[in-house]
Structures are given as C-alpha cells and as structure tokens.
C-alpha cells in the first residue's frame, strides 16, 4: 500500500512523496541525500514498506548495493540494521512507526556515518560482515562449503594437513592424528564417505579482519603466506601435488581465539559433484573463495569458552554402570559437559516399555541399550568418546579393572552391584557416586563417596535408610529391570533426578583429584502435594520434612 506521507513534508523534507513500486509488493519512497565527502557516498536510500504494511511486516530503510560492506550496519541486501519500526501490535500508528524509522536512519545512522562515528563498527561484528562476503562469493559448484577447526590457533604460522569430506564438502583443519578428527568423520557417516587430503596454512592473527583489512585478492593472500610461513612450509604449500600428480586443495585459515576466516585457494582439482544420473565436473577456481568456519573444539562446543574446567574433563575417564531411565540421560549430560571418555556398562536391550522414559526411542528397540547410546553420543558430541559394554557389572569387573578410571557412577539401583563395587574399590580406591530414585520419583538421591570411603555399614546396605519417604508395604517396589511392574512416573518428573545426579557427577569429576572431599548425600525431595497426588497418606521422614510445603527441595546431608 502507499500511505499519505505528506504530514512528514515539513518535518522531514528529505522524503520524496511519490511512491515507487519494487518487487514483492514493496512500496518505496526515495530519500534525498546530502552532499558527501569523498568515500562516504552511496547512490540511493529508500524508505520501504513491505507488502501488507502496516498490518504485517515492518518498515525499513534500504541503501544502494554499492554501500554493502563499505558502510557498517547494512545486511547483504543493503537493509539498514538499526532500531526502527517497532512493528504492528504495540499500539503505534503507521505514521509514528515511519517516524521511528526515519529518526533512526537520521540520528543513528546517517549523521554518525558522515561524522565518522561508525568507522570502527565493522570490527565489533566482524563475522557478520564476513558472512556477507562469503555469501556473495558462494556458488553451487564450490569444492568446499566450510572449514571446521578442532583445536586452538597455533602460536606460529604453519602448514598442516587436513581432510576434505565428500559429499559434505566440509574441510576439517586437522588430520587423523587428533582423535577428534576421527570422531567427527565417523559422526558424519555417509556425508563423509570420501576423505581427501588437503593442505591448510594455519596462521594466527592478532585482530579480527574487516572489509578494509581482509585479503581481497590472491596477491593479498600471497603476501600473508610469504610473510608468515617459514620458507620451507611456504614452498611445500606452493608445490604440493596429490599422489596422482594433480594439484590438491589448499586452504588458508586465519584465526585467533575469537574469530576465524578461511579461503580456498585457486588451483585445486576440479569439483566433481553428484548430479542427476551421474557426475559433473566444474573447473577449479580462478580466485580465492572466502569460507565460513566453525569451531568444533570442546572448549567451544561444550562451554562456549566460558568453562576452563573442560580441559580437565577432557582428560577424565568415567565408568557408568546402568543405562536405564536414569543412567541414559545422565550419560548424555556428562557427555554434553565435555567428559573425554565414558565407559557404559548395561546388559539390557531396549524394549517398547522403555520408550516413555529412556533417552532412546522406538528406533532402538531390540538393540543393546549401551550400543545405541554409544552410537548416538559418539555421533552427536565429538568431544566425548563412549565405549559400550553390553554385559553385567559382574562380567565387566571380571575382564577390567578401575586402574584407568577416574570416577565410578552406579545408576543401576542394584544391591548386588553396590556390593561388587565395594569390593573392587578396596583395591582401586576411586570416588563413587550412587544415584537412585524413590517410587514416583517422589525423591532422588546422589550419594557422593570420596575415594577411600566405604558404602556398606558392616554388612548393612544403607540405601533404604537414606530415603526420604516412608513407603507403606502396599506400594510395590520393584527395582527397574527385574520383573513385571514398574512404578509409574513421567520422564519430566525423572528429569529432576537426572539433573541432580548429573550435576553431582560433574562436581565429582571436576574434583576427583582432591581425594579428601567429605562424602555427602544430595537429595531431591518432592513436597506433600506431590505425595498426596500419588498415594494417600504418604509422609516424609523426619530429615526430609522441610520439603513438605514446597513442590520440591534439594537437601544436602553428610554421608553417615
């Protein structure tokens, strides 16, 4: 629609009142431009109203294509990305909304731009502008679509080998000497059925590049390569050939801990792509191709650089016994938290009764739970390697010791397992976490035992004594995995228990070096309302009564 904007004439003489029609039902109004200093100019600016305005969409300002990547705060199409139209539904008239747009354009963009106040802004959002540069150069026949890094930037520039994965067309900027490379390749499955060796010039940079400092031509890149690489590495990059004597793909990776920029150099082999009924080859590039990068190193994927404890977790090996409704999501959580190695022991297979509260679903019915869990986690989280053992704890202990295990987590709920672990911990003192849930997940407990602390009190298993609710005999208690009936509970109710146990597990893993921590029990206890809903007349034990009035409460106790 075109609006009558004549009310703005006096206040805003720059606005041209004759509406122009643009593609997609967009209405545009030209804006007069001031006289520019050399280098600050752009060809045109328009106020644009999308189809359906004012009921739908927001008004915006669009600048001519010559301004993209020359002037900050513009997206690839030249649309100004500053605060403007608040949009429909907030009580503003269309006229007021347009005034917001024009005010923003004038005061937050045009005047500051002419004054030079926006000149440093490219650097603040460098990767957004790089994404525009990459998108501008992209085509369907590009040999490479992106670069994944799996380690920290080097301190000195060097040439290393990497892998191009086909048909995914992603380059991993590391070779199989790093375990994480293999894990990534495996996780991609058929998307990485072919691996091609490539060369990567891995060069640390001190500052994020901006449109005025990033390399724009082969000679710009050449200058960097020659200036930064040791001469032997430089000539290796220049003269490398594949085993068949053809040119190989070469990538320049320029990065620091904050940002990374990559280019595919011209001169690689032709790109061969699967097309309808056959393959099609496209000639190699004649100029460098800018590429986006993604960080797949654990510090980033696990903690977005906010968690220094991840490097410690990466070195840890955790043994998890039991992979049921509690064990399976706990394994998932500690994998997500960046624990380097997890061995999972469980003899059970996935059945239809498990679906409602297990990490796995119907697609895993009939599979060993541990195998399916390992497959799922190994392909989803490259920071972690899960080794499955489809056997009972007793069998596992016959074949293995705890010698290279840092922390043991028992989530079987089985009294026998607790006794077996107690025995083996006499020879290999390791921190132990025992986690379980009470019926209906009315409570859940994580008992954290330091390396030298025993679980059994003489011959007595203290598990029942540690519980929060007084359970009448009528409530049938069946340990999961045993026989016919299971307490009914939702996965959502169990999620509280999962979170409790997973947090405790991570605390223990992070502190496992300090063997002298106090053994404690942390419990999640639901309140009276929850108990009443599930069974009439249930009461809390004395120590847990604090939870009565709440929906749920976490309580800490010393292990007796």
């Amino acid at each position: 629609m075109s609006l009558d904007l004549s009310f703005l004439c006096e206040e805003f003489p720059e606005l041209q009142l004759s509406a122009l029609h643009r593609g997609g039902g967009v209405t545009a109004y030209q804006l007069w431009l001031p006289s520019f200093q050399d280098g600050r100019e752009f060809k045109w600016a328009e106020l644009r109203l999308p189809k359906g305005f004012p009921e739908y969409g927001k008004a915006f300002i669009q600048l001519s294509p010559d301004s993209v990547l020359r002037i900050p705060h513009l997206d690839r199409a030249g649309v100004l990305c500053i605060e403007g139209d608040p949009g429909p539904g907030l009580g503003y008239s269309p006229e007021d909304r347009i005034k917001f747009v024009l005010h923003g354009y004038m005061e937050q963009f045009l005047k500051p731009w002419l004054n030079g106040d926006l000149d440093g802004d490219f650097e603040n959002e460098a990767l957004n502008y790089w994404a525009i540069e990459v998108a501008k150069s992209r085509s369907n026949t590009d040999a490479v679509r992106g670069v994944w890094t799996v380690d920290s930037p080097p301190t000195k520039a060097r040439v290393r080998s990497g892998l191009l994965l086909i048909p995914n067309r992603v380059i991993i900027a590391a070779d199989e000497k790093l375990r994480i490379t293999n894990r990534l390749v495996q996780s991609m499955g058929p998307a990485a059925k072919q691996r091609v060796r490539v060369l990567v010039a891995d060069i640390p940079i001190s500052h994020a590049f901006t449109p005025s400092t990033w390399p724009r031509s082969m000679s710009d890149l050449e200058r960097i390569l020659q200036g930064r690489l040791p001469s032997g590495e430089y000539s290796r990059l220049q003269h490398s050939r594949s085993r068949r004597g053809r040119g190989i793909y070469r990538v320049v990776l320029l990065r620091n801990t904050e940002v990374a920029f990559a280019y595919l150099l011209p001169g690689g082999p032709p790109t061969v792509l699967d097309v309808y009924r056959g393959k099609k080859a496209s000639p190699s590039l004649h100029k460098p191709l800018p590429l986006m990068t993604s960080r797949l190193d654990p510090d980033w994927t696990v903690g977005r650089d906010q968690h220094p404890e991840i490097s410690g977790r990466q070195a840890k090996h955790v043994l998890v016994l039991g992979c049921g409704a509690l064990g399976s999501p706990v394994v998932d959580h500690i994998a997500k938290a960046g624990v380097g190695r997890i061995s999972v022991v469980d003899a059970d297979t996935m059945s239809s009764a498990n679906i409602g509260r297990h990490l796995l679903g119907a697609d895993s019915i009939g599979q060993n739970k541990v195998d399916a869990i390992a497959q799922r986690i190994n392909s989803a989280y490259p920071a972690t390697e899960v080794t499955p053992y489809a056997m009972s704890t007793a069998d596992w202990l016959k074949k293995n010791t705890l010698v290279d295990v840092d922390v043991v987590i028992d989530l079987t709920g089985e009294p026998d397992v607790r006794v077996q672990i107690e025995q083996v911990r006499l020879s290999y003192p390791r921190p132990l976490l025992i986690g379980w849930m009470e019926p209906y997940v009315a409570a859940a407990h994580a008992c954290m035992l330091a390396a030298g602390h025993k679980w059994l009190k003489g011959a007595q298993d203290p598990l029942s004594c540690l519980e929060a609710v007084v359970w009448p005999n009528e409530v049938i208690r069946q340990e999961p995995g045993c026989s016919s009936r299971f307490q009914s509970y939702t996965a959502a109710a169990a999620e509280h228990a999962v979170a409790l146990v997973a947090e405790c597990a991570l605390e223990m893993i992070d502190n496992s070096v300090a063997v002298t921590f106090d053994s404690t029990v942390r419990s999640w206890v639901r309140g009276q309302r929850f108990l009443d809903k599930h069974w009439p007349g249930l009461t809390h034990k004395e120590w847990a009564k604090a939870a009565c009035v709440h929906d749920g409460l976490i309580l800490n106790r010393q292990f007796p």
Binding site: E14, G39, H207, D220
Partner: protein, 424 residues
C-alpha cells in the same frame, strides 16, 4: 667532508644499488625525465601525492590538545611522587620520552584504542641514597600506588581509566651522577657518545640491575635531525610564496606538514607497519619495533644531510627514505645491528639475533610491502584515485563532515520498554 656514521650507513646502503620506487613508474616519467621544467609546474605535479599523504599524516597524528591533556596527567603524577616520596622535590624531574617528545606519536588503526604516553622520571641520585636498583624501582611504584600503577619490565604502567591514553613511567637516575664503580658494573660497553649528558640509568627488573638508556638523547637526535633541510630552497620558496596553488597549499591547522619529511615518514611508516600486523602480513609479536624504524629513518635522513644531498620535493625524499631504509640494517659478524646512536653499544636489533630470523623476516616482509604499496600510490595520477588508495594502504577512514544541513526529526512518543528476551 668528514664522514659521519650516518653518512657511512647511507653510502653502505647505496652500494647495494637499491632502485627508487618511482624508477620505472609511467606516472613519474614527466618528472623523472625532466619534461616538466618549470619549478611551479613540477611542484603541482608532486602535489598530487603530497596532498593525499599529508591528509593521511594529519589523520594519524595525535593532536596537541590530546597531548596537553596527557601532559597535565603526568604533572599530576609528578606531584603525587613529590608528596609521597621522602626525596626533595628538586631531585625529581619528569619529562616525556619516545614518540611524544619527537612529535611522532600515532593513533592505533582502531581509533578507540588508547595511545601511550611515555614519560621518564629522573631522580638525581646525588641527593638520595637508593643505590639498590630494585628498592629504588619499588619505592617509585609504592609512591604511585594510588594511581593503580602496575610494574612492567622497566617502567610503571598507569592505566588512567577514562582517558584516551595511558602512561608508562620509567624511573631513572642520570648516568653522570653515579660512581664509576657502579657504572662499570652496569654497562661495561658504555662509552661517551654525542648525547652523553642526557644518558640515564634505568632499572631492568628481570635482571634486577641498572641498564643505560638515553631517551632524551634519542629525542634530541630526532628533533635536531628533523630540522635539517634536505629540500632545495627553490621548492621551499615556491611553497611559501605561492599559496594560491590550491593543490600544494599546506593544509591549515596541521602542526607538522609534509615538508617536515622525517617525522611524516616516521608516522606513515609506523602506521603502515601497524596495518600490516592488522592484515596478518606480519606477526604482531615480531613486528619491527618503533625505535628501529625511527633510528633507521633518522640515520638515513641524517646521512643524506651529512652527504650534502638535496631533493626537490618531500615526495622525492620519501621515495629515497623508503628505498634506502631496509639497506641500513647492518649485518656484522653474522649479527644484525641497528645501533642506538645515543648510547654506545646498544643494539636495538639485539633480539633479531636469537629468534631464528623471525624478526628480520618480519622487517623485510614489512619493508617489501611498504615499497609495493607506496608504488601503487605513486603509480596513480588521478587525485581522487590517489586519495582512495592512500586511505586503503594506511587504513584511514574517509574524510568526515557534510551532514550539517540535515534535518532533525523528533521521534514520536517515548517508546514502550521493549519486551526482553528469555533465555532459550
């Protein structure tokens, strides 16, 4: 003519027959081959490049006002020191050193970053008893405690929150007031030099010992050298007398014009080095340090003056400086040498000799890039193309202004508090 050390350095550099950047540029044919004979016409021709370089130079120079603000700050530091130290006020003197005192301080490529003001605090040791270097250094730091001073290798760093600059404050004692015994223990290589009277002893904290330094001498050397005229007088007169020629009229409000060629070269070349580090062409950790650039350019300029050379325009001189500079690095007995002309025996390029050649490589990469980039500027003749290229090469934003007549539109009612985002 007596040959000075700088003159010898220039002659040595010339033995390698470096070619002028403009040697084969088509754009320079008319000047080079003498097709233009009239002095004024030649000036106008040179002015094409001079104007653009002068604009770049004014952008990167830190203006007097900002430096004055810093001067107030270091006077404040002096007062702090005087009131907090038990030493008499007359024994303490504070002066700027480095690029501030040579007027070659430049902005960082990202204008929002701070620039550093180097100041040296000289304590006359004859009035005090602090003979132990570390306790002397620590007592200065203690006196600066309220300013949040942090110890660095040889100075105290004062952050000055909220200001555009920070201060690096180097405690020192005049070299000529200390005993011969201490002197021989601290600097066996020291001997008299041209700027002996300003030589200082500063504390090198890693080795807990005194080290010689002569920042005042260095500044004086640069400033003395910059005063020497290398541009033939006919050109200077044309500059002075013919302001009507717009393209060569000096830019007003400019403290140092491109006729101040040594300082212009120092500023532009340092800026180019900073841009090379930003572009990833050289490693920021091994980039050539400013004092090396200053020493090479000043030696080169001084050597040319000592040899009685003259140039008809600052552009020609800049060309000569850029051409000769890389050849002024000496390699004697397999060691790179860039000697401090004001302290005998101090080699600014010391680190180049035990880093597997990385710093030397950075230096050569940079000087090659500088020459190549200057050539791309000098190869152009269209004034706006020259300006654009100069801005690209030196990372200078486009000139500002021009929005004065724009309307101010009032936003409608105050905006409702925008809905905030939840964590998802």
């Amino acid at each position: 003519m007596s040959t000075t050390k700088s003159a010898e350095l220039v002659k040595h550099a010339e033995l390698e027959y470096p070619t002028r950047l403009t040697k084969s540029l088509e754009s320079f044919a008319a000047l080079r081959e003498g097709y233009i004979t009239d002095a004024r016409d030649r000036l106008i021709e040179y002015g094409l490049w001079a104007k653009a370089l002068s604009e770049a130079n004014s952008h990167i120079a830190v203006d007097e006002e900002e430096i004055r603000a810093a001067a107030d700050a270091y006077e404040e530091v002096a007062n702090y020191l005087a009131s907090n130290l038990s030493w008499p006020l007359k024994s303490i003197s504070i002066m700027t050193q480095g690029s501030v005192s040579t007027k070659t301080l430049i902005r960082s490529p990202n204008g929002s970053e701070k620039f550093d003001i180097d100041a040296v605090c000289k304590i006359d040791i004859s009035h005090i008893e602090a003979d132990d270097p570390m306790s002397f250094f620590e007592s200065i730091g203690q006196a600066l405690k309220e300013l949040e001073a942090q110890a660095k290798r040889r100075c105290w760093y004062i952050p000055f929150t909220g200001q555009r600059f920070y201060l690096e404050f180097t405690p020192s004692i005049p070299l000529n007031t200390i005993t011969a015994q201490t002197l021989s223990s601290m600097a066996p290589r020291y001997s008299a030099s041209r700027y002996e009277e300003t030589a200082l002893a500063v504390v090198d904290t890693p080795t807990k010992s005194w080290k010689t330094s002569n920042s005042a001498g260095m500044s004086k050397w640069v400033n003395d050298t910059a005063e020497r005229r290398l541009i033939r007088s006919i050109v200077m007169e044309a500059y002075a007398n013919d302001r009507a020629v717009a393209s060569v009229a000096p830019v007003p409000d400019q403290t140092v014009e491109i006729t101040d060629t040594l300082r212009v070269a120092i500023r532009l070349f340092k800026r180019h080095r900073d841009m090379c580090a930003r572009r990833g062409v050289i490693d920021a950790a091994t980039k050539p340090i400013s004092v090396i650039i200053v020493t090479l350019l000043t030696s080169c300029y001084e050597g040319l003056a000592d040899l009685g050379r003259s140039f008809e325009h600052p552009i020609e001189l800049l060309d000569e400086l850029a051409t000769l500079m890389p050849h002024l690095v000496l390699k004697l007995d397999g060691k790179y040498r860039v000697d401090n002309p004001t302290v005998e025996g101090e080699n600014f390029a010391e680190k180049w000799n035990d880093d597997d050649g990385e710093r030397y490589k950075s230096f050569m990469t940079w000087t090659n890039a500088l020459s190549a980039d200057l050539q791309t500027i000098l190869a152009l003749k269209d004034p706006s193309a020259i300006s654009r290229r100069v801005r690209e090469v030196f990372g200078i934003p486009a000139p500002t202004g021009g929005g004065n007549g724009l309307t101010t539109i009032q936003p409608p009612a105050p905006r409702a508090t925008p809905a905030s985002r939840g964590l998802a």
